[in-house]
């Protein structure tokens, strides 16, 4: 084995990389590599799911995170496969296109010396004496038949005849097969490029909206937002979406699935900039709403108790509907209320909400059913510094109690506050009062803008067309030769050669042979 130099190795690697086999393997590998993305929550699509994963399984999550399993589609290994596939395809398509371009303009190949060696071959002796005019006529007839079957046709002088008068017919068809093949690959490259580049102009954002409240498509309004690389805030289409009503239907017939939600519907009102009236629409799970170049998906939902806090004089100092995040299937929910202003000290409350409150044997509360049957909110109250006045942003879903004092709940000697709808209870230390004014529902929406959709759809169609051409257009060569037998009669020879898989080749040769000598056979 001769030693390969550096250039030799580079050339060998390049040839391996750009071979069709490697491209196919990379494609399969890409599909496999995408699988973890649907098994493990992804930071871009489900940031809370990732946090939850870390909470439930911190060790496993750390291992997965080091493997970038929470960012599969932007991970080093996924990108490596992606880029290699890209290079492989481009490196394969360019030389093949050049090759095909030359082949498209080249004449069909010289008639082989021995047609009997071709995979399909027929020879027929006919009862006609050889003569120059008959030969010319037969060549003409062969060319006509082949042309009509959309072959590219040429004649070549027979090597055995020094006068050059006798000729053979060489024909080729099915150039579209390779064209289709190339189209397929180019469109595949197109899809990869569209996703890699076009994805950079997209964005995904999440926002929790309580019934009766409105989300406006500006960057500030999102709870979380993942922009593409080339995204700019001014790309957000201005529209507003008001959650009018969120309805849930529960299974009430089947005792085994009692309380399972069977349908979620968010009735929304959408308004464009400049129009005073909105139009109503509905969003369901897997039935997103298309608005302003975005798709709005329904992600999750829960309860948002309406809390009113008054100071000791009875003046309302705080009123809000607070989304409580569901913790279990019966929607036991956890929420945080922050009252920064209006009381003699800042108040924070960590609350549990039970839509159908029940008491376990050990005295703990739990929710027995997800719908509102006997709703109850309990609060542990903290006073002190909410940490909002240092200027550093804080999550609305967590309460930093490091500078606060717990004044109700376990260890304080004062029971947690318990509130049913319409009920008011006093805060400790004469701070004021808290009322559970009502209970609303919230929906969390995912707003996604994907400018690649149209392009991907277009390329997918091209892929299918290219694949169909590459699979179903046979590429074959046919030849017709006129020989003389020992008795001076004509022997007509036909042969065919397929390039690639072609089950119709034998039939095509037989058909040509029959039609070409039909005037002799008819005479018989």
């Amino acid at each position: 084995m001769p030693a390969l130099g550096l250039v030799g190795w580079a050339r060998w690697i390049w040839r391996q990389l750009t071979s069709m086999k490697t491209a196919l393997w990379l494609l399969v590998l890409l599909a496999i590599a995408a699988v973890p993305g649907s098994l493990v929550p992804q930071r871009t699509a489900d940031p809370n799911g990732v946090l939850q994963y870390f909470k439930n399984n911190p060790d496993g999550a750390r291992v997965l995170d080091s493997l970038q399993a929470f960012d599969v589609y932007t991970s080093v290994w996924f990108s490596a496969i992606y880029l290699l596939l890209f290079i492989s395809l481009v490196g394969c398509v360019i030389p093949r296109t050049r090759h095909h371009w030359i082949a498209l303009r080249a004449a069909p190949p010289l008639t082989p010396r021995r047609l009997s060696r071709m995979p399909v071959h027929e020879a027929h002796e006919v009862d006609v004496q050889d003569s120059g005019p008959v030969r010319a006529e037969l060549v003409e007839e062969g060319m006509r038949l082949l042309r009509r079957s959309r072959y590219r046709v040429v004649t070549y002088p027979e090597p055995g005849d020094p006068t050059g008068a006798s000729q053979s017919v060489s024909a080729e068809r099915g150039y579209l097969r390779e064209t289709g093949n190339l189209l397929f690959h180019v469109a595949l490259v197109g899809i990869l490029a569209t996703i890699a580049i076009g994805g950079g102009y997209g964005y995904i954002g999440q926002r929790v909206v309580v019934e009766g409240q409105t989300f406006v498509n500006t960057r500030a309004a999102y709870d979380s937002f993942t922009p593409g690389r080339f995204f700019d805030n001014s790309m957000l289409d201005p529209y507003s979406l008001t959650l009018e009503k969120f309805s849930v239907q529960y299974e009430v017939q089947n005792p085994k699935a009692l309380g399972m939600a069977t349908d979620y519907t968010a009735r929304v009102s959408v308004r464009d900039q400049g129009s005073s009236q909105g139009h109503t629409s509905s969003i369901k799970v897997n039935e997103p709403l298309s608005v302003g170049g975005t798709e709005v998906y329904l992600l999750g939902n829960g309860y948002a108790p309406e809390i009113t806090v008054k100071d000791p004089t009875g003046k309302v100092v705080f009123s809000d509907t607070i989304p409580f995040l569901p913790q279990d299937a019966n929607l036991t929910s956890l929420g945080v209320v922050k009252v920064p202003d209006g009381l003699k000290s800042q108040v924070g409350m960590i609350g549990f909400f039970y839509p159908t409150q029940a008491v376990a044997a050990n005295g703990a509360f739990y929710s027995a059913y997800p719908d509102l049957v006997t709703p109850l909110v309990t609060f542990n109250v903290y006073t002190g510094d909410l940490g909002l006045d240092s200027g550093a942003p804080k999550s609305v879903y967590t309460l930093d109690t490091s500078s606060m004092t717990q004044v109700t709940g376990r260890g304080t000697g004062i029971d947690s506050l318990q509130l049913t709808p319409g009920q008011t209870v006093q805060l400790p230390n004469g701070l004021g009062s808290v009322e559970l004014t009502g209970i609303k529902r919230f929906a969390s929406f995912q707003v996604a803008h994907d400018p690649t959709q149209g392009f991907v759809f277009g390329f997918a169609i091209v892929i299918l067309v290219g694949l169909a051409l590459a699979l179903f257009v046979p590429r074959r060569r046919l030849w017709v030769r006129i020989n003389t037998s020992k008795t001076g009669r004509l022997v007509l020879e036909y042969a065919g050669l397929a390039r690639g898989d072609d089950p119709g080749l034998a039939a095509a040769v037989t058909d040509l042979a029959q039609r070409h000598r039909s005037r002799f056979t008819n005479r018989d």
Partner: protein, 197 residues
């Protein structure tokens, strides 16, 4: 993540190279500077030259005191619109500065108005009481019409965002994020007031 970022920046450099190269062929290397000659963005502050301002922003809604108000109520004044909510820490940090600039300029044809994007009346009024805010705020959490009116090119992209409208109601400048010092807003207001009516 880092390696990935590096990979992409390599690609970005490569494609930028391509764009630059193709730009050389056309001989129009100055195009980038011609795109937005009048939008000068220094840090979080965007100023828009008079000739390039978009149409006047028109809006109306309900204030925290229960009254309704509309942009036309302040026609002819320079209007400062501040997007905020009570639980927003940077909003709390900048509130005293906003009030100070307001009391300095309110007699010079300047009006301030807040747009509360998350709270209801009680919460908003308690905030105003804490910081001694004397200008009104729209309650926009339920309706969203004022955020919608400002959405688009020079949108309030974070909370807080402070927008200065000129006498004709067009966006003249925008401060994204917490007001870092009073002097920034003071300068913007002086510039806008200096424009001949």
């Amino acid at each position: 993540m880092n390696a990935h970022a590096r990979l992409w920046s390599a690609l970005a450099v490569f494609s930028t190279g391509l764009i630059v190269l193709s730009g050389c062929v056309g001989g129009s290397g100055d195009d980038l500077t011609k795109v937005r000659p009048s939008y000068s963005t220094v840090g979080p502050v965007t100023e828009i030259a008079r000739a390039d301002r978009a149409n006047p922003v028109q809006f109306s809604g309900t204030l925290d005191n229960g009254e309704t108000a509309s942009s036309t109520d302040w026609a002819g004044k320079v209007l400062v619109v501040n997007f905020w909510y009570a639980g927003c820490a940077p909003c709390r940090a900048e509130a005293p500065d906003l009030e100070a600039v307001y009391s300095e300029f309110k007699d010079q044809g300047v009006m301030f108005v807040g747009v509360n994007v998350r709270d209801q009346a009680g919460t908003a009024q308690s905030f105003a009481a804490t910081f001694g805010i004397t200008y009104p705020s729209f309650l926009d959490a339920n309706v969203g019409s004022i955020q919608l009116a400002f959405a688009g090119t020079v949108a309030p992209n974070v909370v807080p965002t402070t927008v200065v409208l000129d006498r004709e109601g067009r966006v003249a400048s925008r401060i994204v994020g917490q007001l870092e010092s009073r002097s920034i807003l003071q300068t913007l207001l002086r510039d806008t007031l200096a424009e001949s009516p």
